[in-house]
């Protein structure tokens, strides 16, 4: 058993590795630059000077840990430099990558990039002086994001003719624009696309973004939200309170009703009660919960149809100072519909499982023996049959574990309840990766733990189940 447990725990590792790589890879492929986003959200970055803006950008990306290499190693071609990650700005870096993919000559591309920066700094010192500067500066800025030959050439030509037409410009940035043109023609002349076809694996060492995140995660430091800088653990703690309340209530109600329903419909199989409940439960099970939730919101929380019986979405807006009892009632009335939506699906599911489990047991010989020796219905049903029909209920723990944690995304979004599901969906749409990573990883861990716990409980409940030997 212990050996089995260890083996199962070892399987956790590759699974977690895969999920962490998936989550991390997704965040790196996602469009948008978290650093820019954060700077924008913090209210800055409107019209800063270049050097200042660069400094702020670098500080933010250092703060977020995004100035490190992405992963331990990278597979690329010999044309790429191993210091590319030091170009902080994501869009500039991606543009340089596109240039490399065309020309394969990093030295020339690097010279060209530095020439752009020099010209950019040159125009900045002249900023606001003349009309001509105002015309030239956007051209230079656009060069950072231009990678197609025609586009770069036309930008360069325009910049050159603008500079030539203005004497002050010619005096100050004339040389840098000329240098720009020169480096660009060099870049094209010295193109070596052949180097793109030589594979090259680069090793970046352990100080990389993935390593830092995963070691922090393993020491239970989930990081801070990109959006509001609150620790992820705090945010999740707040959300978990609501999710747990809702789900535990729903599961409790569901079990309370479904065990008797399942048992009785199995005992009196093919009776009217059985037929009606089976049909009803099947319908309940097939009803999509987001439809039911929408219908409930449409019909019972609005005065449109004269059935405005429940408060509207959310959790009410009583201040935290309000008396506990008042807040309790407020939250309670807001939770009725969501809990109902969560409960009916679980109810249908669990009752069907209980019924199925009971049916399997009830045709066994020992139950017939129990009836035959004249036992009362109560002990036969509950002691002999039900205790042996427990397995499906046990295995259901596996699916309930992660469900409680991740919350019901659907219900929380529709009823606007600030639980885990809503937190996750919001984080995904705001690209708040620390939150997304943590939720994905914890949900996976809980799923696996749930399955493992179910297996162990199964073995404890049924001595015939043994994990010692290999089984198919």
């Amino acid at each position: 058993m212990l050996q089995y447990l260890l083996k199962r725990l070892l399987i956790f590792l590759p699974t977690l590795l895969v999920i962490s790589l998936l989550a991390f890879g997704l965040s790196k492929m996602a469009p948008g630059d978290p650093v820019e986003q954060r700077n924008r959200d913090m209210g800055g970055g409107l019209q800063r000077e270049l050097r200042d803006a660069d400094r702020v950008y670098r500080e933010t990306s250092e703060y977020l840990g995004l100035d490190k290499p992405v992963f331990y190693l990278s597979l690329s071609s010999a044309a790429y430099p191993d210091t590319l990650y030091r170009i902080f700005k994501r869009d500039e870096r991606e543009n340089l990558v596109k240039l490399i993919q065309q020309y394969g000559n990093w030295e020339a591309i690097s010279n060209y990039y530095h020439a752009i920066r020099k010209a950019d700094q040159g125009t900045e010192q002249l900023l606001g002086k003349t009309e001509a500067v105002r015309a030239v500066r956007p051209l230079i800025k656009q060069l950072y994001l231009a990678y197609k030959d025609e586009r770069i050439s036309s930008l360069l030509d325009k910049a050159a003719s603008q500079t030539a037409g203005d004497s002050t410009l010619q005096a100050t940035i004339g040389t840098s624009v000329a240098q720009l043109q020169e480096t660009y023609s060099q870049l094209k002349a010295q193109a070596s696309p052949g180097r793109l076809y030589i594979p090259d694996i680069k090793w970046y060492g352990f100080d990389n973004q993935y390593h830092n995140w995963i070691t922090d995660f393993l020491t239970l430091d989930f990081g801070e939200s990109f959006i509001d800088s609150r620790p992820v653990a705090d945010k999740m703690g707040d959300a978990l309170r609501w999710t747990l309340t809702m789900n535990l209530l729903a599961i409790f109600i569901a079990y309370l009703l479904s065990v008797p329903i399942g048992v009785f419909s199995a005992v009196w199989k093919d009776s009217t009660f059985d037929r009606v409940t089976t049909l009803l439960l099947f319908v309940l099970y097939s009803l999509p919960n987001f439809w039911i939730a929408t219908m409930l919101v449409v019909f019972f929380t609005t005065p449109e149809y004269g059935m405005d019986w429940f408060p509207s979405l959310g959790l009410g807006d009583l201040p935290p100072e309000a008396p506990f009892w008042q807040r309790f009632v407020e939250a309670g009335t807001h939770l009725v519909l969501p809990v109902f939506c969560l409960a009916y699906g679980a109810l249908a599911f669990i009752s069907r499982q209980v019924r199925g489990g009971m049916l399997n047991v009830i045709r066994q010989d020992y139950i017939r023996t129990a009836w035959a020796k004249g036992l009362n219905a109560q002990p036969v049903i509950w002691k002999h049959a039900f205790s042996n029909a427990l397995f499906p209920i046990i295995t259901m723990f596996a699916s309930i574990f992660p469900a409680v944690f991740a919350g019901s995304v659907v219900i929380e979004v529709i009823f606007n309840i600030p639980g885990m599901g809503k937190l996750t969906v919001d984080a995904i749409f705001q690209r708040d990766w620390p939150v997304v990573y943590t939720v994905l990883m914890l949900a996976a861990i809980l799923t696996m733990t749930g399955i493992l716990v179910a297996d162990i409980l199964y073995a404890m409940a049924d001595p015939r189940v043994s994990y010692g030997k290999d089984k198919n």
């Binding site: 319908v283 999509p288 987001f290 449409v298 996750t424 997304v436 399955i451």
Partner: protein, 437 residues
């Protein structure tokens, strides 16, 4: 969904223990299935849904099916297919006036004379089914009402049927391909039977690396800038070329010293671990995060992702079946005849193991349809102009008084999901060996 998972687990476990092959399998299954009236009826409903999905353009379309205009006969619906393929183009007058405004000599409209995207300017702002409607005749009534833009809800439902069916079928086809392939490998070869020579293993590893590098990494500029379909085709050709070259090399080098020693690969173990990994991925959250980062929204991504996650049940089934089948005498006979392993798997083993997979597919289609409806309900994953059941249902949240937007699309989702669940139940019962007396 969960019932599906449990049922298939039970059956998979059962099948792996079962020894003797049942006799005249199909006829028993069909006979058992026919006894289940609900399942038979749901099959009939499914035919109707399939018909609607297939002929959606002829059922709800703003273009007439047949029109006689200035003594000329037109088949605009049929012609729109040719236009869509770029083989034909509309005359100017069809651009200038909307289809409903022409003076036809004779015309046959589709049963619902609106397309899902048609905006009826006269019936904007949520016209209820029972309301007074500003339409030329009852023929043009919006029987299920309209939304804010004046789009016909009935037409949207027809278009939604097509999307839902497409999602269910394509997603499950992807899942079935992956699941059958991996499940067959695991079940047929088990942990001991698959061995390849050392040189081949090494060369294939190298080949995968090179294929990835030259197929994607080195061509990433062409892939991102050129016509995607054509460039990906070139990449695929390159990958296939590299892999076959490597394997040819392996055949040539075979039998040269230590490199030819066989290595046994525990395929079953590998596939089962993979299934465990995929099963612990929180699917909905993963789909949400993938869809959220895709800039160009299309329902095809959703299909692909659902398929890539949803193959595990099918793989378990096929594996369990092949564990049984591979010990049967006819497989031994085929081996004795000297057929290659791949031929035995593809032509003899898999066809005998496919029936129970239908159960998983039926439940899988239901959950794929639910998933797509939920995603489009949240407004993600499908292009904004596309009308689906989920997006229609979502409109109800912005206008509470529009009850028809809440009821009809939801009813369609419910009915479709129920049909597939009933089918799955019926198949499970029909295939359940315990009831086969």
């Amino acid at each position: 969904m969960l019932i599906g998972v449990r049922k298939e687990q039970e059956l998979a476990d059962h099948l792996s223990q079962q020894q003797a092959p049942p006799q005249s399998y199909w006829s028993i299954v069909r006979q058992q299935f026919r006894k289940n009236r609900m399942a038979v009826w749901s099959l009939r409903v499914l035919y109707v849904l399939g018909f609607i999905a297939l002929f959606a353009d002829f059922i709800a379309n703003e273009k007439p099916i047949y029109a006689k205009l200035d003594e000329e006969s037109h088949f605009p619906v049929l012609r729109s297919y040719a236009v869509g393929l770029g083989l034909d183009s509309w005359e100017a007058r069809f651009f200038q006036n909307s289809w409903h405004e022409h003076e036809y000599d004779y015309v046959i409209w589709a049963p619902i004379p609106y397309s899902a995207q048609t905006m009826d300017r006269n019936n904007r702002n949520y016209v209820a089914p029972g309301d007074e409607q500003d339409v030329p005749s009852t023929r043009f009534r919006h029987w299920l009402g309209t939304d804010q833009l004046g789009r016909d809800v009935a037409a949207g439902m027809i278009a939604g049927t097509r999307t839902a069916m497409l999602v269910g079928i394509v997603a499950m086809s992807i899942a079935a391909l992956i699941g059958i392939f991996l499940g067959a490998l695991a079940g047929y070869f088990g942990d001991e039977r698959f061995s390849i020579s050392r040189i081949r293993l090494v060369l294939n590893g190298l080949g995968v690396f090179l294929a990835y590098f030259y197929g994607f990494q080195a061509r990433s500029f062409a892939l991102s800038e050129g016509t995607f379909g054509w460039e990906i085709f070139k990449s695929l050709v390159l990958i296939i070329a590299i892999m076959s070259l490597v394997n040819l090399l392996a055949v040539w080098l075979k039998g040269k010293g230590v490199w030819s020693q066989p290595i046994t690969i525990p395929l079953d173990l590998g596939v089962m671990r993979l299934i465990e990994v995929v099963n612990s991925i929180p699917g909905l959250l993963l789909i949400l995060s993938i869809v959220a980062i895709i800039e160009e929204q299309s329902v095809f991504y959703i299909m692909a992702i659902i398929g890539l996650i949803g193959w595990t049940g099918i793989a378990r089934f096929i594996r369990a079946e092949l564990l049984r089948v591979r010990n049967l005498e006819y497989i031994e006979a085929a081996q004795a005849l000297g057929y290659s392993e791949w031929r035995i798997i593809a032509r003899h083993a898999i066809p005998n193991a496919l029936t129970p997979v239908l159960i998983t597919i039926a439940f899988g289609v239901a959950s794929a349809i639910l998933m797509e409806a939920f995603l489009s309900f949240l407004g993600i994953g499908v292009a904004a102009e596309e009308v689906t059941w989920g997006s229609l249902l979502n409109l109800a949240r912005s206008k509470f008084s529009a009850w028809w937007l809440a009821i009809f699309p939801g009813l369609a989702i419910f009915a479709t999901v129920t049909v597939f669940n009933l089918l799955g139940e019926g198949l499970t019962d029909a295939l359940d060996p315990r009831r086969k007396q």
